[in-house]
Point group: C2
Chain length 257, copies 2
Amino acid sequence: MKFIAIANQKGGVGKTTTAVNLGACLAERGVRTLILDLDPQANSTSSFGYTPGEHDSVYAALTGDADIADLVLPTQYKNLSIIPSEQDLAGCEIEMASEGDRLIRLKGILEDFRHSNVADYVFMDCPPSLGVMMTSALAAADELLIPLQCEYFGLEGVAKIVDLHEQIRNSGADLNVILEGIVFTMADSRTNLSTSVINDVRGVFGDVTYQTVIPRNISLSEAPSFSQTILEYAPSSAGATAYRQLAEEFLKRHAAV
Amino acid sequence: MKFIAIANQKGGVGKTTTAVNLGACLAERGVRTLILDLDPQANSTSSFGYTPGEHDSVYAALTGDADIADLVLPTQYKNLSIIPSEQDLAGCEIEMASEGDRLIRLKGILEDFRHSNVADYVFMDCPPSLGVMMTSALAAADELLIPLQCEYFGLEGVAKIVDLHEQIRNSGADLNVILEGIVFTMADSRTNLSTSVINDVRGVFGDVTYQTVIPRNISLSEAPSFSQTILEYAPSSAGATAYRQLAEEFLKRHAAV
Ligand SMILES: Nc1ncnc2c1ncn2[C@@H]1O[C@H](COP(=O)(O)OP(=O)(O)OP(=O)(O)O)[C@@H](O)[C@H]1O
Ligand SMILES: Nc1ncnc2c1ncn2[C@@H]1O[C@H](COP(=O)(O)OP(=O)(O)OP(=O)(O)O)[C@@H](O)[C@H]1O
Ligand SMILES: [Mg+2]
Ligand SMILES: [Mg+2]
């Protein structure tokens, strides 16, 4: 079971869209995938038709009120499950802020979970911030996957999440999260902006960047309003094709290990 | 001097783009506008060519190391100035989290500033979160302006910011921030999604929603990479026209008071 944080403090870059649709494309290929929604906005949760707050979130495990394995919910897709989020998660930031072990509390809970073998990959959908929840997700993760919107502010933000990743690795607490990949999202091939962002980032990060580039595709933003992934909503769209390709590339990178 | 929080916890909905370009359009009409960057990402700061961290942010005023009036920097535009942000602001979330007066510390600092008459309007560009910085911006503000991306997750998120606004008003600490407006951003008139989001929100919020709708326009995302506002980068683009219209409507709403 591998824990993968899908994180970027820049807002609206495609974290949730990538967690949900990469998850669906892996599940379609028989790879058991679990989405752990760590964002109080609960967009991953509502993408599968669940109402945030109706079921316990990881907050219940963090406070010791529940065992994390009991929080797993099915989705309408075989091989794809979710641990939902709720508004109370926003309280974590304040509650955990003053605790000494805040960085490794989530890691501790996930370690027990690791041996339950409920899934092959766990995608942690992170909130857009450098706060406690995002930092503890990085500390708990085996890998970090950064969705990067092909726009100027997206480019500016990538240094910050990479710095944070370095800080976590060097914090001395035996945290070994590796920067597994950078995925370009919402690329608009007609504009120079996207192309120059992709070239700039490839120049710095080389093979860490995925070859697959996710194009801007309206079907991706329409699908959640029907509680569907792109595979069900628009299976032959450019968005579905791109996320299937991404899943293929993701598996190649992980098969080699 | 009116303090206006530009806030929405949903990421990437156009908070910074609205602060910068509505600010520029008001400045063009001779209205003195100040942008207070409260987001550690410092996207408003870099939109004017400043390097985050080179100048003190409001953090220095919050810690008592500087007077807020001394933090104001000019931009290349007459009537438009900025108080920049820096990475340290991210520390505020943790540092202030455990303090009893965290909600009104920023308000206290801004009250002294109010009488300096440095600007007619102060736009507070908020980070994408429901944390301490965003909440204290709402507590300090006279008005709340919500940019709302015309997409499903944008629609889902509007209830949360409106709830938070209600909580602040009812917190009993004599906080009177009013919900001044909702501005639709990144609208794509070719799709049903945008139209249905606009109709849904207008149905609930009526006249609070601005008539002006900001279209998705690539020039708006290209301008910041040249440290320009839309008025300098692409003055006859659909983006520039829309933000000029928004400034006109904004002034009409405020002239009436
Ligand atoms: N490739 C794409 N093409 C078109 N729209 C997209 C694409 N990817 C995501 N979107 C849309 O863009 C918006 C932002 O994406 P999403 O919510 O997944 O980003 P996020 O990083 O999870 O945001 P947040 O920072 O708020 O958590 C959503 O409305 C989503 O539907
Ligand atoms: N109307 C528009 N048309 C096209 N692109 C836009 C528009 N408004 C904003 N953008 C682009 O979309 C991205 C998100 O906008 P912006 O950064 O202003 O949102 P934000 O709400 O401030 O994000 P954050 O939550 O990270 O602070 C940016 O790359 C910006 O350039
Ligand atoms: Mg998200
Ligand atoms: Mg912003």
